[in-house]
Protein backbone atom coordinates (compact mmCIF):
# COMPACT_ATOMS: atom_id res chain seq x y z
CA UNK A 1 0.00 0.00 0.00
CA UNK A 2 2.83 2.35 0.88
CA UNK A 3 4.60 1.50 -2.36
CA UNK A 4 1.34 2.25 -4.14
CA UNK A 5 1.17 5.60 -2.40
CA UNK A 6 4.79 6.31 -3.24
CA UNK A 7 4.10 6.03 -6.94
CA UNK A 8 0.51 7.27 -6.97
CA UNK A 9 -0.60 7.79 -10.57
CA UNK A 10 3.00 7.38 -11.78
CA UNK A 11 4.23 10.32 -9.75
CA UNK A 12 6.81 9.92 -7.02
CA UNK A 13 5.60 11.24 -3.68
CA UNK A 14 8.34 11.64 -1.05
CA UNK A 15 5.84 11.82 1.82
CA UNK A 16 5.24 8.07 1.64
CA UNK A 17 8.94 7.19 1.79
CA UNK A 18 9.21 7.01 5.62
CA UNK A 19 6.29 4.57 5.68
CA UNK A 20 7.99 2.39 3.10
CA UNK A 21 11.21 2.40 5.14
CA UNK A 22 9.31 1.49 8.32
CA UNK A 23 7.55 -1.35 6.47
CA UNK A 24 10.81 -2.73 5.11
CA UNK A 25 12.46 -2.40 8.55
CA UNK A 26 9.62 -4.36 10.21
CA UNK A 27 9.90 -7.14 7.61
CA UNK A 28 13.70 -7.15 7.93
CA UNK A 29 13.56 -7.34 11.72
CA UNK A 30 11.03 -10.18 11.56
CA UNK A 31 13.20 -12.14 9.14
CA UNK A 32 16.29 -11.54 11.29
CA UNK A 33 14.58 -12.84 14.45
CA UNK A 34 13.29 -15.84 12.48
CA UNK A 35 16.77 -16.58 11.13
CA UNK A 36 18.41 -16.21 14.55
CA UNK A 37 15.93 -18.65 16.10
CA UNK A 38 16.22 -21.06 13.19
CA UNK A 39 20.04 -21.14 13.24
CA UNK A 40 20.07 -22.53 16.76
CA UNK A 41 16.89 -24.60 16.39
CA UNK A 42 17.55 -28.27 17.06
CA UNK A 43 13.98 -29.39 17.59
CA UNK A 44 14.14 -29.67 21.37
CA UNK A 45 11.95 -26.65 21.98
CA UNK A 46 9.21 -25.78 19.54
CA UNK A 47 6.91 -23.19 21.15
CA UNK A 48 3.23 -24.14 20.94
CA UNK A 49 0.26 -21.85 20.91
CA UNK A 50 -1.73 -21.93 24.13
CA UNK A 51 -4.75 -19.87 23.12
CA UNK A 52 -7.92 -20.62 21.18
CA UNK A 53 -8.28 -21.30 18.25
CA UNK A 54 -4.69 -22.41 17.61
CA UNK A 55 -4.18 -24.33 20.84
CA UNK A 56 -1.36 -26.90 20.64
CA UNK A 57 -0.32 -25.82 17.15
CA UNK A 58 3.26 -24.63 16.64
CA UNK A 59 3.45 -20.84 16.91
CA UNK A 60 5.81 -20.56 13.94
CA UNK A 61 3.37 -22.53 11.80
CA UNK A 62 0.47 -20.28 12.80
CA UNK A 63 2.68 -17.25 12.13
CA UNK A 64 3.47 -18.52 8.67
CA UNK A 65 -0.22 -19.01 7.87
CA UNK A 66 -1.10 -15.53 9.12
CA UNK A 67 1.71 -14.18 6.91
CA UNK A 68 0.33 -16.13 3.95
CA UNK A 69 -3.10 -14.60 4.63
CA UNK A 70 -1.62 -11.13 4.15
CA UNK A 71 0.05 -12.37 0.99
CA UNK A 72 -3.31 -13.61 -0.29
CA UNK A 73 -4.72 -10.12 0.16
CA UNK A 74 -1.85 -8.61 -1.87
CA UNK A 75 -2.38 -10.96 -4.78
CA UNK A 76 -6.17 -10.73 -4.51
CA UNK A 77 -5.97 -6.96 -4.94
CA UNK A 78 -3.75 -7.42 -8.00
CA UNK A 79 -6.09 -10.01 -9.48
CA UNK A 80 -9.24 -7.99 -8.80
CA UNK A 81 -7.62 -4.93 -10.42
CA UNK A 82 -6.72 -7.03 -13.44
CA UNK A 83 -10.24 -8.48 -13.72
CA UNK A 84 -11.86 -5.08 -13.43
CA UNK A 85 -9.69 -3.37 -16.03
CA UNK A 86 -9.83 -6.37 -18.29
CA UNK A 87 -13.63 -6.19 -18.28
CA UNK A 88 -13.80 -2.40 -18.32
CA UNK A 89 -11.46 -1.61 -21.22
CA UNK A 90 -12.11 -3.06 -24.70
CA UNK A 91 -9.49 -5.43 -26.06
CA UNK A 92 -7.21 -3.99 -28.72
CA UNK A 93 -8.13 -6.67 -31.27
CA UNK A 94 -11.81 -5.86 -30.70
CA UNK A 95 -11.11 -2.18 -31.34
CA UNK A 96 -9.07 -3.07 -34.44
CA UNK A 97 -11.88 -5.23 -35.82
CA UNK A 98 -14.19 -2.22 -35.75
CA UNK A 99 -12.27 -1.01 -38.79
CA UNK A 100 -11.00 2.36 -39.95
CA UNK A 101 -12.76 5.47 -38.73
CA UNK A 102 -15.30 7.12 -40.96
CA UNK A 103 -17.42 9.98 -39.60
CA UNK A 104 -20.53 8.71 -41.37
CA UNK A 105 -20.27 4.95 -41.78
CA UNK A 106 -17.95 3.98 -38.92
CA UNK A 107 -17.74 6.61 -36.16
CA UNK A 108 -16.44 4.00 -33.64
CA UNK A 109 -13.47 3.03 -35.78
CA UNK A 110 -9.78 3.79 -35.25
CA UNK A 111 -7.62 6.29 -37.11
CA UNK A 112 -4.18 5.78 -38.57
CA UNK A 113 -1.53 6.96 -36.09
CA UNK A 114 -4.04 8.13 -33.44
CA UNK A 115 -3.52 6.16 -30.23
CA UNK A 116 -6.55 4.34 -28.87
CA UNK A 117 -6.74 3.23 -25.26
CA UNK A 118 -7.41 -0.48 -25.20
CA UNK A 119 -6.45 -3.61 -23.28
CA UNK A 120 -3.68 -5.58 -24.90
CA UNK A 121 -3.21 -8.79 -22.87
CA UNK A 122 0.34 -10.10 -22.79
CA UNK A 123 -1.10 -13.40 -23.95
CA UNK A 124 -1.57 -11.84 -27.41
CA UNK A 125 2.23 -12.00 -27.70
CA UNK A 126 3.03 -14.88 -25.36
CA UNK A 127 0.37 -17.32 -26.52
CA UNK A 128 0.89 -16.54 -30.21
CA UNK A 129 3.02 -19.65 -30.80
CA UNK A 130 4.40 -22.69 -29.00
CA UNK A 131 7.87 -21.12 -28.92
CA UNK A 132 6.56 -17.90 -27.41
CA UNK A 133 4.73 -19.79 -24.70
CA UNK A 134 7.65 -22.15 -23.99
CA UNK A 135 9.36 -20.13 -21.19
CA UNK A 136 6.08 -19.68 -19.29
CA UNK A 137 5.06 -23.31 -19.77
CA UNK A 138 8.48 -24.60 -18.68
CA UNK A 139 8.27 -22.29 -15.66
CA UNK A 140 4.92 -23.78 -14.72
CA UNK A 141 6.32 -27.27 -14.79
CA UNK A 142 9.46 -26.09 -12.94
CA UNK A 143 7.39 -24.68 -10.07
CA UNK A 144 5.25 -27.80 -9.77
CA UNK A 145 8.34 -30.02 -9.76
CA UNK A 146 9.96 -27.71 -7.16
CA UNK A 147 6.88 -28.05 -4.95
CA UNK A 148 7.33 -31.78 -5.19
CA UNK A 149 11.09 -31.73 -4.47
CA UNK A 150 10.62 -29.65 -1.34
CA UNK A 151 8.03 -32.07 0.09
CA UNK A 152 10.44 -34.89 -0.69
CA UNK A 153 13.16 -33.05 1.27
CA UNK A 154 10.70 -32.75 4.16
CA UNK A 155 9.80 -36.42 3.92
CA UNK A 156 13.46 -37.51 4.14
CA UNK A 157 14.15 -35.13 7.00
CA UNK A 158 11.10 -36.55 8.80
CA UNK A 159 12.10 -40.21 8.58
CA UNK A 160 12.48 -41.65 12.08
CA UNK A 161 16.00 -41.97 13.50
CA UNK A 162 17.30 -45.47 12.88
CA UNK A 163 15.07 -46.11 9.86
CA UNK A 164 17.57 -44.47 7.53
CA UNK A 165 21.32 -43.98 7.51
CA UNK A 166 22.08 -40.41 8.66
CA UNK A 167 24.48 -39.77 5.79
CA UNK A 168 21.83 -40.91 3.30
CA UNK A 169 19.34 -38.59 5.00
CA UNK A 170 21.75 -35.64 4.81
CA UNK A 171 22.46 -36.21 1.13
CA UNK A 172 18.82 -36.71 0.18
CA UNK A 173 17.64 -33.60 2.03
CA UNK A 174 20.26 -31.24 0.64
CA UNK A 175 19.97 -32.67 -2.87
CA UNK A 176 16.20 -32.22 -2.92
CA UNK A 177 16.53 -28.71 -1.49
CA UNK A 178 19.33 -27.96 -3.95
CA UNK A 179 17.13 -29.16 -6.81
CA UNK A 180 14.37 -26.85 -5.58
CA UNK A 181 16.83 -23.93 -5.58
CA UNK A 182 17.96 -24.73 -9.12
CA UNK A 183 14.37 -24.94 -10.36
CA UNK A 184 13.55 -21.61 -8.72
CA UNK A 185 16.61 -20.04 -10.38
CA UNK A 186 15.53 -21.52 -13.71
CA UNK A 187 12.16 -19.85 -13.23
CA UNK A 188 13.69 -16.39 -12.84
CA UNK A 189 16.16 -16.96 -15.66
CA UNK A 190 13.38 -17.88 -18.08
CA UNK A 191 11.37 -14.90 -16.91
CA UNK A 192 14.29 -12.60 -17.73
CA UNK A 193 14.58 -14.24 -21.16
CA UNK A 194 10.87 -13.74 -21.73
CA UNK A 195 10.86 -10.13 -20.57
CA UNK A 196 14.18 -8.75 -21.80
CA UNK A 197 16.32 -11.12 -23.85
CA UNK A 198 14.34 -13.38 -26.18
CA UNK A 199 15.94 -16.41 -27.80
CA UNK A 200 16.96 -17.94 -31.09
CA UNK A 201 15.20 -21.00 -32.52
CA UNK A 202 17.54 -22.94 -34.84
CA UNK A 203 16.42 -24.64 -38.04
CA UNK A 204 15.57 -28.33 -37.61
CA UNK A 205 14.94 -29.81 -41.04
CA UNK A 206 13.75 -33.13 -39.63
CA UNK A 207 10.57 -31.53 -38.28
CA UNK A 208 10.39 -28.74 -40.84
CA UNK A 209 11.34 -26.03 -38.37
CA UNK A 210 12.63 -22.78 -39.81
CA UNK A 211 15.27 -20.67 -38.12
CA UNK A 212 13.70 -17.67 -36.38
CA UNK A 213 13.93 -15.33 -33.43
CA UNK A 214 11.55 -15.16 -30.49
CA UNK A 215 11.58 -11.55 -29.38
CA UNK A 216 11.33 -10.48 -25.77
CA UNK A 217 8.35 -8.51 -24.52
CA UNK A 218 10.69 -5.54 -24.14
CA UNK A 219 11.80 -5.61 -27.78
CA UNK A 220 8.18 -6.09 -28.89
CA UNK A 221 7.42 -2.76 -27.21
CA UNK A 222 5.19 -4.26 -24.53
CA UNK A 223 6.14 -1.65 -21.94
CA UNK A 224 4.40 0.09 -19.06
CA UNK A 225 5.00 3.55 -20.57
CA UNK A 226 4.08 2.70 -24.15
CA UNK A 227 1.21 4.88 -25.35
CA UNK A 228 1.98 4.23 -29.03
CA UNK A 229 2.18 0.44 -29.19
CA UNK A 230 2.07 -1.21 -32.60
CA UNK A 231 1.38 -4.89 -33.10
CA UNK A 232 2.03 -6.39 -36.54
CA UNK A 233 -1.57 -7.71 -36.54
CA UNK A 234 -3.04 -4.23 -36.29
CA UNK A 235 -2.54 -3.20 -39.90
CA UNK A 236 -5.40 -2.55 -42.30
CA UNK A 237 -4.51 -4.62 -45.37
CA UNK A 238 -6.48 -2.48 -47.82
CA UNK A 239 -4.96 0.87 -46.86
CA UNK A 240 -1.81 -0.08 -44.95
CA UNK A 241 -2.98 2.01 -41.99
CA UNK A 242 -1.57 1.13 -38.55
CA UNK A 243 -3.60 1.12 -35.38
CA UNK A 244 -1.52 2.37 -32.45
CA UNK A 245 -2.59 1.64 -28.90
CA UNK A 246 -2.06 3.05 -25.44
CA UNK A 247 -1.29 -0.14 -23.51
CA UNK A 248 -0.02 1.42 -20.29
CA UNK A 249 -2.75 -0.14 -18.13
CA UNK A 250 -2.51 -3.67 -19.51
CA UNK A 251 1.30 -3.72 -19.53
CA UNK A 252 1.48 -2.28 -16.01
CA UNK A 253 -0.94 -4.88 -14.67
CA UNK A 254 1.05 -7.66 -16.31
CA UNK A 255 4.46 -6.51 -15.09
CA UNK A 256 3.33 -5.57 -11.57
CA UNK A 257 1.52 -8.87 -10.97
CA UNK A 258 4.09 -11.19 -12.54
CA UNK A 259 6.89 -9.03 -11.11
CA UNK A 260 5.45 -9.28 -7.59
CA UNK A 261 5.30 -13.02 -8.04
CA UNK A 262 8.87 -13.02 -9.38
CA UNK A 263 10.00 -11.06 -6.34
CA UNK A 264 8.51 -13.78 -4.15
CA UNK A 265 10.47 -16.37 -6.12
CA UNK A 266 13.65 -14.33 -5.58
CA UNK A 267 13.02 -14.22 -1.82
CA UNK A 268 12.34 -17.96 -2.02
CA UNK A 269 15.73 -18.56 -3.67
CA UNK A 270 17.46 -16.77 -0.79
CA UNK A 271 15.54 -18.89 1.74
CA UNK A 272 16.20 -22.07 -0.22
CA UNK A 273 19.93 -21.33 -0.46
CA UNK A 274 20.01 -21.00 3.33
CA UNK A 275 18.03 -24.23 3.85
CA UNK A 276 20.24 -26.09 1.38
CA UNK A 277 23.38 -24.95 3.17
CA UNK A 278 21.92 -25.95 6.52
CA UNK A 279 20.91 -29.35 5.11
CA UNK A 280 24.45 -29.81 3.74
CA UNK A 281 25.78 -29.43 7.29
CA UNK A 282 23.44 -32.24 8.35
CA UNK A 283 21.30 -30.06 10.61
CA UNK A 284 17.96 -31.58 9.66
CA UNK A 285 16.48 -34.50 11.55
CA UNK A 286 12.88 -35.51 12.47
CA UNK A 287 12.80 -32.90 15.24
CA UNK A 288 14.16 -29.96 13.25
CA UNK A 289 12.44 -30.84 9.96
CA UNK A 290 9.61 -28.40 10.72
CA UNK A 291 11.80 -25.56 9.44
CA UNK A 292 11.58 -27.10 5.96
CA UNK A 293 7.83 -27.54 6.43
CA UNK A 294 7.29 -23.87 7.34
CA UNK A 295 9.37 -22.58 4.48
CA UNK A 296 7.65 -25.15 2.25
CA UNK A 297 4.30 -23.48 3.02
CA UNK A 298 5.65 -20.23 1.59
CA UNK A 299 7.07 -22.00 -1.44
CA UNK A 300 3.81 -23.86 -2.15
CA UNK A 301 2.00 -20.54 -1.87
CA UNK A 302 4.29 -19.10 -4.56
CA UNK A 303 3.37 -22.11 -6.72
CA UNK A 304 -0.31 -21.62 -5.87
CA UNK A 305 -0.25 -18.02 -7.07
CA UNK A 306 1.43 -19.09 -10.31
CA UNK A 307 -1.37 -21.61 -10.86
CA UNK A 308 -3.65 -18.57 -11.30
CA UNK A 309 -1.15 -16.15 -12.88
CA UNK A 310 -0.15 -18.51 -15.68
CA UNK A 311 -3.58 -19.16 -17.21
CA UNK A 312 -5.01 -15.69 -16.72
CA UNK A 313 -1.97 -13.55 -17.60
CA UNK A 314 -0.09 -15.81 -19.99
CA UNK A 315 -2.69 -17.91 -21.73
CA UNK A 316 -5.95 -15.96 -21.75
Amino acid sequence: MTFGGLFTFSEFDMWYLPLVIVGIAVIGAGLFVWWRQDMSFDGTYEPMSAGVPFKNIQIRKVGMWVFLMSEMMIFSSLFSTYMRYRQGIPRCDTVFNRGLFDPVTNPDGWQDGVAVTCFEPASHLIASSWWHIAPGAINTFALIISSFTIVQALRWAHKPVGSVDEEVRRKRVYRYLGATTILASLFLTLKMIEWFIGFHVPAIDLIGLHEHEIHSLYSEGYLINNDHYQHHDYVDEATGAHMVANIQVSATLFYVTTGTHGLHVLVGIIGLAYLTFKAWTGAYNPQSAVSIEYFGLYWHFVDLVWVLVFPFFYLY
Binding site: M73, R84, T140, I144, F312, Y316
Partner: protein
Protein backbone atom coordinates in the same frame (compact mmCIF):
# COMPACT_ATOMS: atom_id res chain seq x y z
CA UNK B 1 1.97 -37.00 5.76
CA UNK B 2 1.92 -40.67 4.80
CA UNK B 3 -1.49 -40.83 3.13
CA UNK B 4 -2.25 -42.82 0.04
CA UNK B 5 -4.60 -42.04 -2.83
CA UNK B 6 -5.79 -45.12 -4.74
CA UNK B 7 -2.94 -47.08 -3.18
CA UNK B 8 -0.28 -44.63 -4.38
CA UNK B 9 1.67 -42.22 -2.20
CA UNK B 10 -0.30 -38.93 -1.93
CA UNK B 11 2.67 -36.71 -2.86
CA UNK B 12 3.47 -38.69 -5.99
CA UNK B 13 -0.22 -38.91 -6.96
CA UNK B 14 -0.59 -35.16 -6.51
CA UNK B 15 2.53 -34.53 -8.55
CA UNK B 16 1.30 -36.69 -11.46
CA UNK B 17 -2.12 -35.02 -11.33
CA UNK B 18 -0.67 -31.50 -11.41
CA UNK B 19 1.62 -32.30 -14.31
CA UNK B 20 -1.24 -33.77 -16.36
CA UNK B 21 -3.56 -30.85 -15.64
CA UNK B 22 -0.87 -28.33 -16.61
CA UNK B 23 -0.25 -30.19 -19.84
CA UNK B 24 -3.98 -30.07 -20.64
CA UNK B 25 -3.93 -26.31 -19.90
CA UNK B 26 -1.13 -25.62 -22.37
CA UNK B 27 -2.68 -27.90 -25.02
CA UNK B 28 -6.08 -26.21 -24.61
CA UNK B 29 -4.54 -22.85 -25.49
CA UNK B 30 -2.70 -24.25 -28.51
CA UNK B 31 -5.64 -26.29 -29.82
CA UNK B 32 -8.10 -24.93 -32.36
CA UNK B 33 -11.32 -24.81 -30.36
CA UNK B 34 -13.16 -22.55 -32.78
CA UNK B 35 -15.48 -25.20 -34.30
CA UNK B 36 -16.28 -26.62 -30.83
CA UNK B 37 -17.01 -23.15 -29.50
CA UNK B 38 -19.30 -22.34 -32.40
CA UNK B 39 -21.16 -25.59 -31.84
CA UNK B 40 -22.12 -24.54 -28.31
CA UNK B 41 -22.70 -20.88 -29.08
CA UNK B 42 -19.53 -19.48 -27.51
CA UNK B 43 -16.41 -17.77 -28.75
CA UNK B 44 -13.08 -19.59 -28.74
CA UNK B 45 -11.79 -17.18 -26.11
CA UNK B 46 -14.75 -17.89 -23.82
CA UNK B 47 -14.35 -21.64 -24.05
CA UNK B 48 -10.60 -21.34 -23.40
CA UNK B 49 -11.28 -19.25 -20.30
CA UNK B 50 -13.75 -21.84 -19.04
CA UNK B 51 -11.26 -24.66 -19.56
CA UNK B 52 -8.46 -22.72 -17.83
CA UNK B 53 -10.70 -21.82 -14.89
CA UNK B 54 -12.02 -25.37 -14.52
CA UNK B 55 -8.46 -26.73 -14.49
CA UNK B 56 -7.04 -24.03 -12.19
CA UNK B 57 -9.53 -24.83 -9.40
CA UNK B 58 -8.52 -28.48 -8.84
CA UNK B 59 -4.83 -27.54 -9.21
CA UNK B 60 -5.26 -24.90 -6.52
CA UNK B 61 -7.03 -27.37 -4.22
CA UNK B 62 -4.50 -30.15 -4.86
CA UNK B 63 -1.52 -27.98 -3.92
CA UNK B 64 -3.25 -26.56 -0.83
CA UNK B 65 -4.68 -29.88 0.39
CA UNK B 66 -1.76 -32.24 -0.22
CA UNK B 67 1.44 -30.19 -0.44
CA UNK B 68 0.41 -27.60 2.16
CA UNK B 69 -1.07 -30.28 4.43
CA UNK B 70 -4.54 -28.79 4.66
CA UNK B 71 -5.97 -32.29 4.41
CA UNK B 72 -5.45 -35.24 6.72
CA UNK B 73 -3.56 -33.58 9.59
CA UNK B 74 -4.74 -32.87 13.12
CA UNK B 75 -4.59 -29.11 12.61
CA UNK B 76 -5.90 -29.13 9.02
CA UNK B 77 -9.37 -27.87 9.95
CA UNK B 78 -8.39 -24.71 11.78
CA UNK B 79 -5.57 -23.93 9.35
CA UNK B 80 -7.95 -24.31 6.40
CA UNK B 81 -10.30 -21.83 8.06
CA UNK B 82 -7.32 -19.52 8.59
CA UNK B 83 -6.39 -19.79 4.92
CA UNK B 84 -9.98 -19.07 3.88
CA UNK B 85 -10.32 -16.05 6.18
CA UNK B 86 -9.16 -13.50 3.55
CA UNK B 87 -11.94 -14.78 1.27
CA UNK B 88 -14.38 -12.87 3.49
CA UNK B 89 -12.63 -9.57 2.73
CA UNK B 90 -12.28 -10.39 -0.94
CA UNK B 91 -16.04 -11.03 -1.24
CA UNK B 92 -16.79 -7.78 0.62
CA UNK B 93 -14.47 -5.93 -1.77
CA UNK B 94 -16.15 -7.39 -4.85
CA UNK B 95 -19.64 -6.66 -3.48
CA UNK B 96 -18.63 -3.13 -2.55
CA UNK B 97 -17.39 -2.36 -6.04
CA UNK B 98 -20.42 -4.04 -7.57
CA UNK B 99 -22.86 -2.07 -5.41
CA UNK B 100 -21.08 1.24 -5.98
CA UNK B 101 -21.01 0.85 -9.72
CA UNK B 102 -23.82 -1.39 -10.97
CA UNK B 103 -22.10 -1.72 -14.35
CA UNK B 104 -18.78 -2.72 -12.78
CA UNK B 105 -18.76 -5.95 -14.72
CA UNK B 106 -18.91 -4.26 -18.12
CA UNK B 107 -17.75 -0.67 -17.68
CA UNK B 108 -15.47 1.55 -15.69
CA UNK B 109 -16.23 5.03 -14.38
CA UNK B 110 -14.34 7.82 -16.09
CA UNK B 111 -12.09 8.51 -13.13
CA UNK B 112 -10.38 5.16 -13.37
CA UNK B 113 -9.91 5.19 -17.13
CA UNK B 114 -6.45 5.96 -18.51
CA UNK B 115 -6.01 9.67 -19.17
CA UNK B 116 -8.61 10.72 -16.59
CA UNK B 117 -6.68 10.13 -13.38
CA UNK B 118 -6.42 13.80 -12.61
CA UNK B 119 -10.18 14.36 -12.40
Amino acid sequence: MSHKIMGIDAYWMNFYGLMILTLIEVLAVGANLGPTAEGIGMTERQITLWILTIIAVPKFIMIAAIFMHLWGENDSGILTLTALFPAFFIIIMVLFIGLTHPDAGIGLPDWCRPGNYGL
